[in-house]
């Protein structure tokens, strides 16, 4: 069982001043599964992502990725191990073109080393392959027509799509997606879910995602983790979550009680 866990987070904590943003969260993700984190605003979901991806240092607790403890690694070292995250605000590099943003996701690019200056052949071979792959990813998320424009001209939703394409460019084994579908139109969400699902089947890609839309969460998740006030208050199959009293109080609120 446990070696089938790609991600294993144990009792992780961090505080900002007096705010215990994440206060002893324990959760895990099985290889090839989709696990969703839900919870009210300020529950600590994004902070949990930041802890797992190394963007902020934890006060205590451990994070194991593929059996290796990574809580003391830098973000780029964690990315090298195959875990790639997106950002809630969908960060794009505004002064790079859209396709260059995606190409930034490429791993082990010989042209990203200064020594690559002396190997123009390897450099340009990688570069043209990389551009091709970036273009096909842009096509998959439906923004290929903006490929040569500055990413700064993209709308909020398009930026999310770019962020997603850029993450896929890195060929991760695990994706951390922070509200990837917020502000993306429903038909496109359908399409993206298909893309992600096929990736999951083809490459055993594992997902951890934060999502507020419960219908989507219930549809796509193998497991759901519920957070409130920095703690994991429930963790289980989607259906069991829907009926959990604690969850109803903390998050689903009146909506569920009425029905």
């Amino acid at each position: 069982m446990s070696n089938n866990l790609i991600l294993d987070v144990r009792d992780i904590k961090v505080h900002f001043g007096g705010v215990k943003a994440v206060d002893g969260a324990t959760m895990s993700v099985e290889r090839g599964s989709v696990t969703s984190v839900i919870g009210p605003n300020g529950a600590g979901k994004t902070t949990l992502f930041n802890l797992i991806s190394g963007a902020i240092a934890s006060d205590s607790g451990t994070v194991a990725f593929n059996g290796e403890e990574i809580q003391n690694l830098h973000p780029h070292q964690i990315a090298h191990r195959g875990m790639i995250r997106t950002f809630q605000g969908a960060k794009v590099i505004k002064r790079l073109s859209v396709v260059e943003n995606v190409m930034l996701g490429g791993q082990k690019n010989p042209g990203e080393r200064l020594s690559g200056f002396f190997n123009p052949r390897a450099r340009s071979r990688y570069e043209s392959e990389s551009r091709e792959r970036a273009m096909s990813l842009l096509k998959q998320v439906g923004i290929d027509r903006f490929a040569e424009d500055y990413a700064g001209i993209l709308s909020g939703g398009q930026r999310k799509l770019l962020d997603l394409a850029r993450s896929l460019m890195a060929q991760p084994t695990m994706l951390l997606l922070d509200e990837p579908f917020a502000g993306v139109n429903p038909t496109l969400v359908e399409k993206l879910l298909e893309v992600l699902n096929s990736l999951r089947q083809a490459h055993q890609l594992s997902f951890l995602l934060v999502e507020h839309d419960l219908e989507t969460v219930m549809n796509i998740s193998d497991r759901v983790v519920v957070m409130a006030e920095g703690k994991v208050i429930a963790d289980g199959l989607p259906n069991s979550i829907y009926d959990n009293e604690l969850v109803i109080d903390a998050y689903l609120g009146t909506r569920k009680k009425k029905s």
């Binding site: 991806s53 963007a55 830098h74 973000p75 780029h76 990315a79 090298h80 790639i84 995250r85 997106t86 950002f87 960060k91 794009v92 590099i93 505004k94 002064r95 790079l96 260059e100 190409m103 930034l104 996701g105 490429g106 791993q107 690019n109 042209g111 990203e112 080393r113 200064l114 690559g116 200056f117 450099r123 570069e127 500055y150 700064g152 001209i153 850029r166 993450s167 890195a170």
Partner: protein
């Protein structure tokens, strides 16, 4: 007024413009690509020129090897600056970088028995007692040889400054080609990304600190090369050559050229050189009312005004892209 119309003077200015151009190219790598605001760049020139001078004068090292060592020490200086301060956020780095070049200058100023102190390179202890402390013994014959070749074309007009200008501009040309290529590499793409944001490149597996450090070292190597030419152009060195204002002259050229691309830099360098050299001759009325030290300030004010005017008319620099400036 006489020098104003002498072509020889302008050839000297051209050589200086080239040296400033090389110097500024070092900043371009750091800022134009990586967004790193280095205000201590002149420290790299001080390190390379003094290292070269001391090795030649005090230790009798071959001039060419000493020059390479000078550039290497400039690179080490850049590495030291980067390693100690690049982890600070951008604004703090800029402030600390000023301290870097000032510390280098103070150390040079106060190490009499080693660097010549306030007296400059003339006071560097010579290897053989009684020898005249100069580091140009190898360079002067070389530049004389270049001058003789130039005389074939330019006749009597060929002089030392013309040879110097030629060599400096060939160097700048080669460096522009190399740096231009580097800036089209994916390496530069990552650095451009770090200019806007640290988190995205880091989340994609890029070691942001390492990229910045490389940019600072590369810029310092280029600044170090400028330092060697600086030393050769004046034939002697003094700590006062390396005041922070020199860094800002480099910045002026960079701002004029429009930072993101290297191609405007040589023209901006010439523009700056002639502005700087030209304002030297504001000795006519109304400037003649002032004494010469007051005129020196007026000159800097006029350069400033011209720059302000240009920035208002062309905020993206002479060759920059305006679209890049308006993206939110």
């Amino acid at each position: 007024m006489i020098a104003f119309i002498q072509p020889g003077f302008w050839v000297f200015v051209l050589a200086m413009a080239g040296i400033y151009g090389i110097f500024s190219l070092g900043l371009q790598v750091q800022y134009g690509v990586g967004g790193i605001l280095n205000f201590g760049h002149v420290g790299t020139m001080a390190l390379s020129s003094y290292t070269m001078a001391i090795l030649v004068i005090s230790y009798g090292v071959n001039f060419w090897i000493a020059s390479l060592c000078g550039v290497a020490v400039a690179a080490l200086g850049g590495a030291f600056l980067g390693l100690t301060t690049l982890r600070l956020s951008g604004d703090y780095f800029s402030i600390v970088s000023i301290a870097f070049s000032e510390i280098v200058r103070y150390v040079i100023f106060n190490s009499d028995g080693f660097t010549g102190g306030s007296q400059g390179s003339l006071n560097i202890p010579a290897k053989v007692e009684g020898d005249y402390p100069t580091y140009t013994n190898t360079w002067e014959p070389f530049i004389g040889w270049v001058k003789d070749r130039l005389a074939v074309i330019f006749g009597d007009n060929a002089d030392r400054d013309m040879a110097m200008a030629l060599i400096v501009w060939i160097t700048l040309g080669i460096l522009l080609i190399i740096v231009g290529r580097i800036e089209r590499m994916p390496w530069a793409r990552v650095l451009r990304a770090t200019r806007e944001d640290d988190d995205v490149p880091a989340a994609l597996g890029k070691n942001v600190f390492q990229f910045r450090l490389q940019a600072v070292i590369l810029g310092s190597v280029i600044g170090g090369i400028a330092g060697i030419y600086w030393a050769l152009q004046f034939s002697l060195l003094s700590p006062d050559d390396f005041l922070t204002i020199v860094t800002f002259y480099g910045w002026m050229i960079l701002i004029l050229s429009g930072a993101p691309k290297v191609k405007g830099l040589p023209i901006a360098a010439i523009f700056f050189g002639f502005l700087y050299g030209g304002t030297r001759f504001f000795t006519f009325w109304p400037f003649s009312i002032l004494d010469s030290s007051q005129r020196a300030y007026i000159r800097i004010m006029i350069i400033g005004l011209v720059l302000i005017f240009l920035m208002l008319k062309r905020p993206q620099g002479l060759f920059g892209k305006r679209e890049e400036m308006v993206l939110e």
